[in-house]
């Protein structure tokens, strides 16, 4: 697979200084977590990495090619993105929604084959929404829709997964099974880059972290180096208690009193 690479990247957030340019490579097998308070630019970073928004400076590369040199179709065969917000537009069933994940792999003249449908159904089963195949997406709960969106990208089968708050709306069990699925993907040589709100999920499942500060500052590296309580307290402007559970740090917010 081609690693996703940010070179001197400055994301474009109106009215904000350039801050620290980002330069990192998401290698196969890595799981990156992006942490930062509301409005720090996590979603903008994700969209910029997917080539959906132009950066203010710098480039995003797949292998040695800048995203701007590649066709959208080539990019979508390597990068998959789970959005935080989704538009409904016209009504569609769960299966139809998952099946559009095959779009990058089919030529304009091809219809979806039985094989494509099998891939989509299997992705839905993996996300535990297989029994909802014929339901309209608009009738599902938030958590079910989230899992359908992840199943769509699983159907797309990209080398690099970009995910915007993948655990949103999910109950605890499904949060864990989604993160386990992503770990599985990374183990098979793919890579994962996701925004997360839950510090503890990030500490437990990510092996690399990127901290994004509201003023544009950023730092990144292996997770164990980034999980310094002082840095995290500054990041969220929130005092934290740190305890060790199961060999990993666990962060609990201090009460204001």
């Amino acid at each position: 697979m081609n690693p996703l690479r940010a070179k001197e990247l400055v994301i474009d957030i109106p009215g904000r200084d350039d801050g620290q340019p980002l330069s990192f490579t998401v290698e196969p097998g890595q799981i990156w977590g992006v942490l930062g308070p509301n409005g720090a630019g996590k979603t903008t970073l994700l969209h910029t990495l997917a080539g959906l928004r132009p950066p203010r400076q710098g480039t995003v590369c797949l292998a040695d090619y800048s995203l701007t040199e590649l066709r959208r179709r080539q990019i979508s065969q390597q990068l998959g993105l789970v959005f935080q917000e989704r538009q409904d537009g016209f009504p569609a069933t769960v299966l139809e929604t998952a099946l559009i994940g095959r779009h990058p792999w089919l030529s304009p003249w091809q219809m979806e084959s039985g094989e494509d449908e099998r891939i989509a159904r299997q992705a839905l089963e993996t996300l535990d929404v297989g029994q909802l195949s014929d339901r309209l997406v608009s009738t599902l709960s938030g958590g079910e829709r989230q899992r359908v969106a992840i199943a769509t990208v699983l159907t797309q089968a990209p080398d690099t997964w970009l995910l915007d708050e993948p655990t949103n709306h999910l109950d605890l069990h499904h949060q864990v099974s989604v993160l386990e699925l992503l770990t599985e993907q990374a183990r098979s040589g793919r890579s994962v880059f996701m925004c997360l709100h839950d510090l503890n999920l990030a500490a437990r499942w990510c092996n690399h972290l990127l901290l994004l500060y509201p003023n544009g500052d950023a730092c990144w590296g292996p997770a164990e180096r980034m999980l310094a309580p002082a840095a995290l307290e500054r990041l969220y402007d929130q005092e934290l208690l740190t305890v060790e559970v199961d060999g990993a740090p666990l962060f609990v917010p201090k009460k204001a009193r």
Partner: protein
């Protein structure tokens, strides 16, 4: 998506043919269905030959082509705006065409110049609505719809002004054009060929349209080149609308009602919906035109009145139902 696409299309083809036979056979002198086919195959009396081949068939084919073009244009705009209420008439494109046509009529010009002027008016209106709504950002559906509605109101005022100052002997022709009337149509073939071409073009574009219907960001993430596709749809829809309006004046609501009904029954796969719109839109307008010819025979109603009478309640119902 995996379900066969051919069966519903076959049903619609048969319905369309039946409607055409009915339409050609109905009128001051009725021709039974069996004889209609015989005449088309070259038999029958001289009178029947003239009646069917020279008078009624071209009009029926024109009605079919106009309805098909309008329905496909509506369906394309709905995908572009991701809004089921988009339609050439609602977006003010027909209004622009009408102003073009009336200007030509007011100047005492006729025939081809009226058509050309209507075509130019429709294109101008499209450019205005989409250009203004585009503004500095991208096309947000609500802004486009609002722009269309406001621009349509503006065209309405211009039309009223022109009617108020035009000489009395020109008024009936103008009014009929405004209400949409297939009897003005010339040769139906250019429009039919265009309709066929578009139906062939949507086969390779169809799946991309399906993805675009999920929103531009999602579509881009799935490998669709969004901007070029949006411009393609926009230009196609404008061209179809302009052609339809040029043929038969401003006929409202076909582009709104037909795609909506079909989506309720057939789902949202554009590869099925767009050809189905061409067939069902054509069929609807053929039937509406037949009705327009017989309701107060020997007088004729403009077909736009019939489609508006059907379309207005449907539109209101849709608005009422939508969130």
């Amino acid at each position: 998506m995996s379900r066969p696409l051919l069966k519903p299309l076959l049903v619609l083809v048969l319905a369309g043919l039946a409607a055409m036979v009915l339409s050609v056979g109905t009128g001051s002198v009725s021709v039974p269905p069996g004889q209609v086919l015989a005449v088309i195959l070259g038999e029958g009396s001289g009178l029947q030959q003239t009646l069917v081949l020279e008078l009624r068939l071209p009009r029926t084919l024109s009605a079919f082509a106009t309805g098909g073009l309008l329905a496909v244009a509506g369906a394309l705009m709905q995908v572009l705006l991701r809004n089921p209420l988009a339609d050439p008439y609602v977006l003010g494109l027909s209004g622009g065409a009408a102003v073009g046509a009336l200007l030509a009529m007011l100047a005492g010009l006729g025939g081809l110049i009226v058509s050309g002027s209507a075509f130019a008016g429709a294109l101008l209106a499209t450019l205005m609505v989409f250009g203004l709504a585009h503004g500095t950002g991208s096309w947000t559906p609500s802004r486009l719809l609002l722009t269309g509605v406001v621009v349509a109101a503006g065209w309405g005022a211009v039309i009223t002004l022109m009617l108020a100052i035009s000489p009395a002997q020109r008024l009936p022709g103008m009014l009929y054009w405004l209400m949409g009337d297939v009897s003005y149509a010339r040769s139906p073939w250019p429009a039919l060929v265009l309709l066929l071409l578009v139906c062939l073009l949507v086969v390779p574009l169809g799946r991309s349209l399906n993805v675009l219907a999920r929103g531009p960001m999602q579509a881009a993430a799935l490998g669709v080149a969004v901007r070029p596709l949006e411009w393609t749809i926009y230009i196609l829809a404008s061209l179809l609308t302009a052609t339809a309006v040029t043929m038969a004046g401003s006929i409202g609501f076909v582009g709104l009602v037909v795609p909506h009904m079909l989506r309720l029954v057939l789902g949202n796969d554009q590869r099925l919906i767009l050809p189905a719109c061409a067939l069902a839109g054509g069929t609807l307008l053929v039937l509406a035109d037949t009705l327009a010819r017989v309701v107060i025979a020997p007088e004729q109603l403009p077909v736009g009145v019939i489609t508006a009478l059907l379309g207005v309640p449907t539109f209101l119902y849709l608005l009422y139902r939508s969130r």
